[in-house]
Amino acid sequence: MAGQAPVIQLKNVSKTFGEVRSLSGVDLEIYPGEIVGLLGDNGAGKSTLVKIIMGFHKPDEGGEIWFKGEKITEWSVEKARDLGIETIYQERALCELQPIWRNMFMGREIKNKYGKLDVAKMKSEASRLMSEHMGFTSTAVHPDNSVLTMSGGEKQGVAITRALYFDAELVILDEPTVGLSLSETKKTLDFIQSIKKSGRSAIFIDHNIFHIYPAVDRMVVLDRGKVVGNYKKSEITIDELIESMYRVARTGSIKE
């Protein structure tokens, strides 16, 4: 992995919302083919970090974002997605009054060379994905159905399937398994493995260490907006990790 430029690299990224400082001086790099687990207490700043990578939030003055060895000056969600970064947001980012197919392709609608939307294709792709990848069996998953009446897990399925469709180079999953059944959780974890197998990268956020540990290559621990730990899986056992997470929560420091 050394020698290759990171897919995404944050240098000294801070983020303040008015009086609240959510991130301070975060350095983070994600290498090609690497799955990184992001751990941290509620409010540690994980989701904020994700939104900075996606260009939804702008980092405070002095913070830099690098994509494949190049410093990014004009960053936006549209650009991040064009470059191959997809995110399953914690809040799912769905437009619930709209049909499934519009949600599936929101922001990246399929169009022909004259700019006309290919609605038929979006519908058929949406329906194929929903049944092939998520294996949904409910009556609610027809592509013309609105998301509003779907169950919580099904809504999440739409958000997950959406990220899967675009073959992103970097997939960010912000607590994707919350509220999912055992079998859907397993599918999601399998999805992360398939990302790894195809040599792409992922950032995986989950409060369940037993989900994170087996899935990832490296773990980054965030506490009150700062990176306080960074472990290769070979360097730490799951018990040691749990121990140090407790220590962070108690003392705010990862070291003894």
Partner: protein, 334 residues
């Protein structure tokens, strides 16, 4: 292929939304339209069985329908525009000034459409840049545009009877095909163009997303502010067109042009099934809604009902259609 899909659908039991859920609103609108029409056919059968009244509709309704149709897009994004009657007047005033100043009709027309578009864009800019509710800021710009126009025209109107204007007038408001006013065909064209824009372009897709959930749309890379600015600009363009149509229809530019059209246009949008909450709406619904409003206008007079009741009727139509939307959206949410 079709067969295997059928089988698959059965396996997954993935059913499309029920017919009523998908088209219920559209049927509701058509139902209201036909119902009102029947009432008039019975209460004012003489007028409503002759074709004159329909020809009258076709010439008068387009003036506000041309603005109700683009207004639909703004309402879908969750905003509103109350300034378009003033934009109509200011844009048409620009036409009369440029035309009388230079004698160039085309420059005048282009200027009118440009001024209209810019006024709309200005609205959109204020709404998005300062994050001000459009309901409030467009009251302000409405007064502003009207004030500029009245000051510029010094409060007086302009006749549009020059021979040189005849050909433009003929294209805009002449009569063709069984004596139907051209503005009706312009309205049909506007409906088709904006239907395409809304349903078959990326911009249109983003109009729905913006009004449905702004944050979600932004998280997925939709530039919601740009979308809103564009819908306001489109509104301004059509307000200018409607202003030209209305003025050429009567061969006179009244400085008060636009007065009384605000409610007609807004009522058409809501009656047409566009959601007051944003995220849902159709331009075809608005088109039908506009002609229902037009029929109410004409029908009340023709049935010999005191014209003051028109407002009562409008009020009821708006209130009932908005209540219907609230009830339907509650039903869907269960």
């Amino acid at each position: 292929m079709a067969k295997s899909e059928e089988v698959k659908a059965k396996d997954n039991a993935a059913r499309p939304p029920s017919f009523w859920r998908r088209f219920g609103m559209q049927f509701g609108i058509w139902g209201v339209g036909i119902g009102i029409w029947l009432i008039f056919v019975f209460t004012a059968s003489e007028a409503f069985t002759s074709k004159d009244i329909y020809l009258a509709f076709a010439s008068s309704t387009p003036i506000f329908a041309l603005m109700a149709i683009p207004l639909t897009l703004i309402v879908i994004t969750g905003e509103i525009d109350l300034s378009f009657p003033s934009v109509m007047a200011l844009a048409t005033a620009s036409f009369t000034k440029i035309y009388s100043g230079t004698g160039n009709i085309w420059l005048g027309l282009a200027m009118a459409l440009f001024v209209g578009t810019m006024c709309g864009y200005f609205n959109g800019w204020l709404v998005t840049y300062f994050a001000i509710p459009s309901l409030v800021i467009t009251i302000g710009t409405g007064f502003l545009f009207r004030g500029i126009e009245l000051a510029w025209m010094n409060g007086s109107g302009v006749g549009l009877t020059d021979k040189e204007l005849a050909s433009v007038a003929n294209v805009l408001v002449g009569r063709s095909f069984f004596g139907i006013a051209n503005q009706f065909w312009w309205t049909v064209l506007a409906t088709i163009v904006l239907w395409f824009t809304l349903n078959r372009t990326k911009f249109g897709a983003h109009v729905f997303l913006t009004g449905d959930n702004k944050i979600s749309a932004q998280l997925m890379g939709v530039n919601v502010n740009k979308v809103k600015r564009r819908t306001f600009a489109i509104m301004g363009f059509f307000a200018a067109l409607a202003g030209l149509v209305a003025s050429f229809e009567v061969s006179y530019f009244w400085p008060t042009l636009g007065d009384g059209l605000l409610m007609n246009s807004i009522a058409s949008v809501f009656l047409g099934g566009t959601s007051v909450f944003g995220g849902i709406g159709t331009v075809t619904g608005t088109f039908v809604g506009a002609f229902i409003i037009g029929a109410i206008n004409a029908g009340i007079v023709a049935s010999g009902i005191n014209a003051f009741y028109t407002q009562v009727f409008f009020g009821l139509v708006i209130i009932i259609s908005v209540i219907m939307q609230a009830v339907i959206s509650k039903r869907i949410k269960r």
